[in-house]
Symmetry: C2
Subunit: 594 residues, 2 copies
């Protein structure tokens, strides 16, 4: 069984048949070079690297984990060599500015590649993933000098980056953070404090690590408004830009985690480490939030990654494993039993994975398209619309993809029966690795508050309407299409219900703010199912109208859309009842009653 096959056919369907990336790139200034031929060549090359180099290291990474000895972190065997190949291939530079050595392709091209690196080996892919975050920070908020010193090295890949936010007493609540930055006469800062859960925080893949660190200036206001952003390199850059003196940032230990063992999750101690301010003082959180959407989409990808891998593994197993006969009579009469794919419940589990993986792919690359437009379009109206849609869709993508990714990973395991619980098949690792995604980069609960509280209610519903209008337009345009009626009619109904429920919660929240928190996660999940319903309806339409509509791939699209509408979308019905039940049944408990 292959560890991973890049889903090139489905990517092609999503990018070109459904989302028309050809026209997308053609319409954006500076993307003229990103023609289909070039992108396809890049994607095929990346696919080979992911299948042949990264995927075989996935189990190795889990088994060996990272090693911490006297402050030095060693990554699992093969990780370093794979990273070297990655650098040699020029992959870190793909969507960064040509001014600093990048290839200048739009963000969405990086996302396509990240989907594959992530699915092949999530733990490994986090090293370049964190670098990407650091690069975005520097690109957006660094000075020209900072960019030329640090960004160039990051784009080259010879240095990597991290994002240092969390401290032991605060993860969600960054306003509480204590790391301090004392200004020095030379314009640098002395950073003092301890950060935890720093992914890719230390390792042996690259010669230097650029930490982007949140800390407080001495006179900073309390809370989130007193946080600034600093560059703290592991080694200070020498005059010539090469690696110089060791800085006073050390890895105190690495965490023993449920999964993603191949990635070093570090405690980083800053003992008067030298740092450099990025962006204006006390605006650190604001600076970080400017690319929160891309960072969260990066984590959303993880849900897709695990759904895809689990689906591939369980599908292949379900076709081979012989066990029991179909209830309606043998389907493999010459064999000792039927392959388990004949059993309806195994199909239900496979199709749930398929619908979540392919649905997730549609949402990721749809959002990624919006990122491009927001970043690159010269049409102010398009830009604003894209930004609004993205603001609305990002928390949904992050939480819904990771929640359904975990569900999918568990279905994959379940298809294997008891064998799924054993290390050898890799499906239990897939579950363990998937579990982190609902936690970091903002838990599902935090995404849900962001969606319902900050995005939907604080905009008086405007951000929701941006999206429901898109859905409405699609439904309107296809209302006479009989073939599509099975999708369009329930979608149109859902789209109305979405507004009604939002109104309902909004009104309750005027009485009691806690109603927002009480409904938030159910609201987010509801929204996720609704967004997928729109995308699956579009996919069905695209497949039906495709010139190769008779082919298995396109027939399957329509059938998977049907499965989604019949078997997964109905979950919204329970969510509506739960949401409408109000906060009372949660709040009416005294502490002694738990």
């Amino acid at each position: 069984m292959a560890d991973y096959k890049a889903p090139l056919k489905d990517l092609e369907f999503v990018l070109y048949d459904m989302l028309d990336y050809e026209q997308h790139y053609a319409s954006l200034p500076g993307c003229e070079e990103a023609n289909r031929e070039l992108i396809t060549a890049i994607v095929e090359e990346a696919a080979k690297f992911c299948e042949n180099v990264l995927a075989p290291l996935n189990a190795v990474g889990d088994e060996h984990g990272c090693d911490w000895q006297d402050g030095v972190v060693t990554t699992p065997p093969g990780f370093k060599e794979a990273y070297q190949q990655f650098v040699e291939g020029g992959w870190p530079s793909i969507n960064h500015s040509v001014d600093y050595g990048g290839q200048g392709l739009p963000e969405s091209v990086g996302t396509i590649i990240s989907e594959m690196t992530g699915a092949a080996n999530w733990a490994w892919s986090m090293y370049p993933g964190l670098s990407h975050g650091a690069m975005n920070t520097l690109a957006q908020h660094g000075t020209v000098e900072q960019k030329s010193v640090y960004l160039t090295k990051l784009v080259e890949g010879s240095w990597t980056g991290t994002m240092c936010l969390t401290e032991a007493h605060c993860g969600t609540d960054l306003g509480m953070l204590k790391t301090r930055a004392e200004p020095q006469d030379d314009g640098s800062y002395r950073i003092q404090g301890s950060k935890i859960f720093i992914s890719a925080g230390d390792h042996d893949l690259a010669e230097n690590i650029v930490h982007i660190v949140l800390a407080r200036l001495p006179d900073a206001p309390e809370g989130t408004k007193g946080i600034s952003l600093f560059i703290v390199p592991k080694y200070l850059p020498a005059e010539d830009g090469s690696v110089g003196e060791r800085n006073a940032v050390t890895c105190g230990s690495i965490e023993h985690k449920m999964g993603i063992h191949g990635n070093a999750t570090c405690v980083l101690n800053f003992d008067d480490a030298t740092g450099y301010l990025i962006g204006p003082p006390n605006r650190g959180l604001h600076c970080m939030f400017t690319f929160m959407n891309t960072a969260r989409l990066g984590t959303a990808l993880q849900g897709l990654a695990h759904a895809e891998v689990g689906y591939q593994k369980s599908l292949s197993y379900a076709k081979e494993r012989l066990q029991m006969r179909a209830l309606s009579g043998p389907k493999n009469p010459s064999g000792p039993a039927d392959p388990i794919i004949v059993h309806p419940d195994v199909r239900r589990m496979l199709l749930t994975q398929k619908a979540f993986a392919e649905g997730g792919r549609m949402l990721i690359h749809y959002c990624s398209q919006l990122v491009d437009i927001e970043q690159l379009s010269d049409d102010a109206g398009r830009k604003t619309e894209a930004a609004d849609l993205l603001a609305f869709l990002t928390p949904i993508a992050k939480a819904f993809l990771t929640e359904t990714g975990f569900e999918a990973a568990n279905h994959a395991l379940q298809c294997f029966g008891g064998h799924g619980y054993i290390r050898e098949w890799g499906v239990e690792q897939n579950v363990r690795d998937a579990r982190i995604a609902m936690l970091y980069e903002g838990t599902t609960g935090i995404q849900a508050l962001d969606l319902l509280g900050r995005k939907v209610l604080m905009s008086q519903g405007e951000l929701l309407k941006r999206f429901t209008k898109v859905v409405h337009k699609f439904c309107k345009a296809n209302e006479d299409n009989e073939q599509l009626a099975e999708f369009v009619q329930p979608l149109a109904k859902l789209n109305n219900q979405w507004g009604e429920i939002t109104m309902h919660i909004g009104l309750s929240a005027m009485e009691n703010q806690e109603e927002v928190g009480a409904a938030a996660v159910d609201y987010l999940m509801y929204s996720g199912y609704a967004v997928y319903a729109y995308l699956w309806a579009r996919a069905a339409k695209t497949a039906m109208e495709h010139e190769a509509a008779e082919g298995a791939f396109y027939r399957a699209k329509v059938k998977t859309a049907r499965f989604y509408f019949k078997r997964l979308l109905p979950r919204t019905e329970s969510l509506v009842v739960a949401m409408k039940s109000g906060a009372g049944n949660l709040l009416d408990f005294e502490d002694s009653e738990f």
Copy 2:
């Protein structure tokens, strides 16, 4: 934070307030001694052992795992000593026959203790758990001589037992098994074959292990009707009953698993090992199925165990961890932030766990009461009714408790945020350990087919009616109780719907057998929610009518029932739609379309 506190108060509520175990034991022949005082004394003693000895070994077991060296298995540090204490306390003998050294208490007393040993340390508890299975087999099907040789030792605890069913190519489909048994002139058999996934298959806790092995006689018919049952001891008993010569059964390796690391999951090789037939030839599966109900309830317990432990851990964390302010304003104004228990979504996750753990406890001890009645009652009518109810409820208990137990364990982890993903808090272990329960002893899919196919439809709905009558009676008796209306009314509605859906599926299945498999898991989950609705309604009534109804514990029962009805029971609505969607959306895929 304590690793585990035995929930004695809730056990008392379930056993005495709700299920009237006093009257239960008083009404059963041979249980006269099982008065409340005695049982309470036993339970309190067991609780201490579980809290002080077993629970502290739970993380140790996970961390160290079992060791296999040259065919010899060593359990984690402390496991052997704990087992010795268990034996010295007489715990293995509690509900086994006085004729073989047991204490002769009913099965349900053992279940109460198993709930606590399981929650304290599931991996450890599997060693005595498997012994219990072997004891039940011997007690029911062994000859007097077999009982006196083997059962006595097992009851004493100086030997343990296993159940050897699975082979590499068959788990669910035991009809395919290949292990062979050749009759010898002395009446024994030579056993030849290899078994996998044998829990507690080899270890250093006891001086001998009694394997109960499924194998085929030379002239056996194919399939499940050609399977016989054998005793294959690790060491052959000497003349005087002590441990004699080593038998040719060896542990070829142990599995590397996602969880339950403290339990040795073995490959056992039988190389012409000496075995002894138990029960009639070719009736092995039948013999094993005679106590399938108790075995499956034993696994159902695991769901409860992980829900309880996760709830305890996450509740305690949620009261201590300070992060963010309540949306409606500070609840802990003098602290730097509010404890996370103020946030509605954290409450939702805590209450979901609470409702599943306490609901699971009700179902387990309700079923356990039926086991007693089936085994011990001298009233043929009561016996049959109990057997029918048990046949119906067992697959529900096994699958629903383990599915919701896994869900609960994941909520517990989620309450910890990123910290939940780290080994130190034990909540990620709890998730990993919980994951096996939906697989072994029949997967959720298999339980679902057993419920819908074998139990409900094959009895023409009679077994369902047995239970819905119980529910109906409860609803009727309380229809004028206004305080209970919020529970009784939806319960009565649900009870009718249950019958309707069953009829609907039954009719579709007459057209196409595959409809059973297509609806089965959703039907099982629906049934689980319905059964819990009945139990939670009863719990609410019991709490309201309790002399201490004003106390926090009893108020909490009513509020948790309300939470259950408002937030969890609505899941049935989605399940109904999915079930009614029929098999078409699953079957209509060719293999090439996956």
